[in-house]
């Protein structure tokens, strides 16, 4: 039987025919495998998370789908136009500044459901010519650039803009990308102008990383308990208690809950399983929900949404644009009967998906662990309003431990107040106050 290896997202073969290909594939396999091993190691004895490099999965891949539009923005500003606009406003952070270095500001999109987009405008007009959606993790592009920067430039020229120059894509100052990784000045800049202000190639939100996906799935495999010793299974409370991902999204709570309850079913009588993420490990666009995209005469325009990288079910880069000879442009497209003006309207009808597998658990029976985290909300928030409130998950920036609620906030779920020691992982996550990946060296 062939040795198991982790392959690039969507089985992309960006270096086909190039000398750099073979080593890149080896590096990618090792990089993903290390992320699995590091996370499995953090789980202690008898983890319920595994890598297929050690043991084959025994179940087919299971789909876990979620909506591409940020639920956190809908909560913040309300559904519809306000949220669509908010999703298009680039954000800035100095969180990647290396210790002791002058502040480095980078930009990212506030699109935090592992799908980001950019609306390209026809020069000299206000008309949208195309909208590009990506689910590609930044790590892939960082690794690709390490292997073959020339090809990265060529891919940018093909998918973003022919005017892209190599110098546009390079860092001018070091970035502390995560605890283990410094991206040096002169190397690939994942937050370059063609991936932020002027276009999109891959994910930029600090939480939208493949490492975060692996970490989330690993941590979520642990079953946790509240102050009374009862297992926490409510979707949002589980995130707040276990401290993985972000309680305000559609994706993280869903992914975490599915892993958690696949490993140890809530109802008595279910078999305990070990979970893993299926190869190729990636976040994907499943596709566009059919029927919502129409032209001026009510005709379906579903075909205007095409995957350029990946394929339906495992889409990585998609473009919405008028095909040649269409007779009209995106300015006459309706999304659910409403004129298309923002990429967020399309994101609302994109299904995201990841694939997980499992095998029977052969170690000791898992035990419940105490909460390592908690969620905070403004004081006075009525219980009925908690669902529509974005919660904070404060952590001490130095230790990674769950920190007290700040700024007058109070614990949203006091019945699951953090009681246990935080995961090792929490420390690195805390460095930017957001979920982050472990980009370990080879």
């Amino acid at each position: 039987m062939a040795k198991f290896t982790y392959t690039p997202p969507g089985n992309l073969d960006d270096l086909a025919g190039r000398a750099s290909r073979e080593q890149f594939l080896v590096n990618w396999d090792q990089y993903i495998l290390k992320a699995f091993r590091d996370n499995i190691g953090d789980l202690g004895d008898d983890p319920l998370f595994f890598t297929e490099a050690d043991t084959p999965a025994t179940t087919p891949a299971v789909r876990i789908p979620w909506n591409a539009f940020p639920l956190s923005l809908t909560r913040k500003v309300g559904a519809g136009v306000a949220a669509w606009k908010a999703a298009d406003i680039l954000q800035s952070t100095t969180g990647y500044t290396p210790p002791g270095a002058p502040k480095v500001t980078t930009q990212y999109r506030p699109q935090d459901e592992y799908c980001e987009w950019f609306a390209y405008i026809t020069p000299g007009t206000t008309k949208i010519s195309r909208i590009v959606f990506t689910a590609e993790g930044p790590e892939y592009w960082i690794k690709l650039a390490e292997a073959d920067l020339d090809q990265v430039v060529a891919l940018y020229q093909a998918y973003v803009d022919p005017q892209v120059k190599q110098s546009d894509l390079l860092l001018t100052a070091d970035l502390q990308y995560d605890r283990d990784t410094v991206l040096a000045a002169g190397t690939y800049n994942p937050f370059n102008i063609w991936n932020t202000k002027k276009g999109v190639m891959h994910l930029t939100h600090p939480a939208n990383t493949l490492g975060a996906e692996i970490n989330l799935a690993a941590v979520a495999s642990q079953t946790v308990k509240d102050n009374t010793g009862a297992r926490v299974t409510d979707v949002r409370r589980l995130v707040c208690c276990a401290g993985y991902g972000d309680a305000n999204r559609s994706s993280d709570p869903l992914i975490g809950w599915n892993v958690n309850t696949t490993c140890v079913p809530i109802a008595a009588g279910g078999a305990v399983l070990d979970a893993t993420l299926a190869d190729p490990v990636a976040l994907y666009m499943d596709g566009l929900q059919p029927g919502f995209l129409t032209g001026p005469s009510g005709e379906s325009l579903d075909g205007w949404f095409q995957f350029r990288r990946g394929a339906p079910g495992k889409g990585l880069l998609a473009v919405l644009e008028a095909p040649a000879g269409a007779g009209f442009g995106l300015d006459q497209v309706l999304v659910k009967g409403v004129p298309l003006t923002r990429g967020g309207q399309i994101a609302e009808i994109i299904n995201m998906v990841l694939y997980a597998k499992a095998k029977p658990h052969t170690g000791n029976a898992p035990s419940l662990v105490g909460c390592t985290s908690h969620c905070c909300m403004p004081a006075g928030t009525a219980p009925a309003k908690i669902p529509s409130t974005n919660l904070n998950q404060p952590r001490d920036r130095n230790t990674g431990l769950a920190a007290p609620c700040r700024n007058g906030d109070v614990n949203a779920y006091p019945e699951i107040t953090a009681t246990g020691a935080p995961q090792k992982k929490a420390a690195e996550e805390a460095s930017h106050g957001v979920r982050k990946t472990r980009l370990g060296g080879q």
Binding site: W66, V235, R236, L334
Partner: protein, 509 residues
């Protein structure tokens, strides 16, 4: 009580607590002339039935059925109403457009997933296409919908009001009577409306402050309060606007859903045969139908297995379940006990209740979805006030002429966000194989269209619990067809009176 205080005389009674009378009659009008509309409002305003009246009546009926009152109260004709987009624009309710893009766009196929091809492949008229709808759509635009309710003789009772509204200059385009069927069932034979949510809040009725939704001593769970077991009490803002001219108003989704009972029974019998062949075990047509709904006709949910599903547990038990989690035994404030519920050990496969069962599709309860968790799912729920129309199907005599008559459900649901509530459940969940969890379309009500915008067969995965096998099945026919409907707004009674002020005389001129 630190709960919101609702205005019992300003809120239309079909929003809260719901009419629940033996007969209802819907009468629709077209017309967007503001003068004509104000005249019509002047006619209907004095007859509008408010929350306080409806809840008082409900209490009296309950007292009678419990043996605490000598008689069912005799009650006059009730009336509520709602306006279409053209009418709200004409009457200056322009802020509605900012509240929901769905209301602006209307009930169009690109939002609902309805068929838009006016002709079927054989060239005949497609009744599900909005241009051919009985009411609503681009041809029979619905600008004013009157919702009458009575215990009997409703057609005669409504006539003076309907005539007077017509005389205002509006064009009557529709009228239809709905009647409760025996045992509160819908035409496919299943008990309906079991899992309607409740509402937090209190209301003053006859000088007494009381809960809008009756409490039975069900303890809070995960921060959620309950009326009956399994009936979450939701924020009134999910159903009623809270500010300015829209205050105490609500969006109303009206769908005229035609049900093909004969085809439903025939197809499910065929499905049962093919599943039996595939699994090697006898699967009854009744079991197939129960899996499609998620409940037995008696209302007994598949998530609460009982020896004889024709003999359901009490009304307090049949909604006391989650899909994944167990629920404890309850002792209600009356002293009645409700047995505990167990979760499904194979919930990811839909071991006990299919992933695609109607009740799991539209209310996955404790399960996470593509759009969040249980909190969000509760936020998508609506106040459903539907009532069947057409004669009951005669299963004893399939050749009965009555079986050729049209029948279905007049679906009425109140909410404050059509796009977040109705359209999430309808378009994003029922009409897809993937959401809220992958596994199949809602075979009962969901729609799947071909590229030609005609209804197509819907697939689902039948999970055979004994063998663990998954068998693909298909609902080849569309048993429920939308044949009318509109997105409407049901204003407050106070706003209605203001609009109609000074027009009452003109209304009869």
């Amino acid at each position: 009580m630190s709960e919101p205080v609702l205005d019992g005389v300003d809120i239309q009674g079909n929003i809260l607590p719901g009419f629940r009378r033996a007969e209802e009659m819907l009468v629709g009008f077209s017309g967007t002339d503001p003068i004509a509309l104000r005249r019509a409002l002047a006619i209907i305003a004095p007859h509008l039935t408010c929350l306080a009246t409806a809840i008082d009546h409900r209490d009296a009926r309950k007292a009678f059925f419990l043996g605490n009152a000598p008689d069912v109260p005799s009650t006059s004709l009730w009336l509520n109403y709602a306006l279409g987009k053209g009418a709200t624009d004409a009457l200056g309710l322009s802020s509605l457009g900012d509240k929901d893009a769905a209301f602006v766009a209307g009930m169009v196929p690109s939002r609902t997933g309805d068929s838009s091809n006016a002709s079927l492949p054989d060239g005949s008229r497609n009744p599900a296409a909005p241009p051919n709808w009985v009411v609503g759509g681009p041809v029979r635009k619905l600008d004013l919908l009157l919702i009458f309710a009575a215990d009997e003789n409703i057609e005669n009772a409504v006539r003076p009001i309907v005539d007077a509204v017509r005389d205002c200059g509006l064009i009557q385009i529709y009228s239809e009577v709905g009647r409760l069927l025996p045992e509160d069932k819908e035409h496919f034979g299943f008990q309906d409306g079991i899992s309607n949510p409740g509402v937090l809040g209190v209301v003053d009725v006859g000088g007494v402050r009381r809960f809008v939704t009756t409490r039975y001593g069900v303890p809070d769970r995960n921060g959620v309060s309950f009326g009956k077991p399994g009936q979450p009490l939701l924020d009134p803002e999910q159903f009623l606007f809270d500010a300015d001219e829209l205050r105490n108003g609500s969006f109303l989704v009206f769908r005229r859903l035609q049900q093909d009972v004969a085809k439903f029974y025939l197809d499910t019998s065929e499905l049962a045969k093919s599943i039996s062949t595939e699994t090697g075990e006898f699967v009854s047509p009744e079991a197939v139908r129960a899996r499609i709904v998620g409940r037995w006709p008696s209302g007994q949910p598949l998530m609460r297995p009982v020896a004889d599903p024709n003999r359901p547990e009490s009304q307090f038990a049949i909604n006391h379940f989650e899909f994944a989690s167990a629920l404890p035994e309850l002792v209600l404030s009356s002293g009645d006990k409700v047995a505990a519920a167990t979760g499904d050990p194979q919930v990811a496969n839909g071991g006990r209740c299919p992933i695609w069962a109607h009740i799991r599709k539209v209310n996955p309860r404790d399960l996470p979805t593509d759009k969040g968790g249980a909190d969000e799912t509760r936020g998508f729920q609506m106040l459903r006030r539907g009532i069947p129309f057409g004669p009951q199907f005669d299963h004893g005599n399939l050749a009965s002429p009555t079986n050729t008559a049209e029948r279905g459900l007049l679906f009425l649901a109140y909410q404050t966000s059509i796009s977040q509530q109705f359209e999430t459940l309808n378009g994003d969940w029922m009409n897809t194989e993937l959401n809220p969890s992958p596994g199949g379309f809602d075979l009962l009500v969901g729609q799947r269209l071909t590229l030609t915008r005609l209804n197509d067969a819907k697939p689902a995965m039948w999970f055979d619990q004994p063998t663990g096998k998954t068998i693909p099945i298909v609902a080849s026919s569309q048993w429920v067809l939308p044949t009318g409907g509109a997105y409407l707004f049901a204003p407050s009674i106070g706003w209605t009176r203001k609009q109609s002020a000074g027009n009452s005389r003109a209304g009869h001129s």
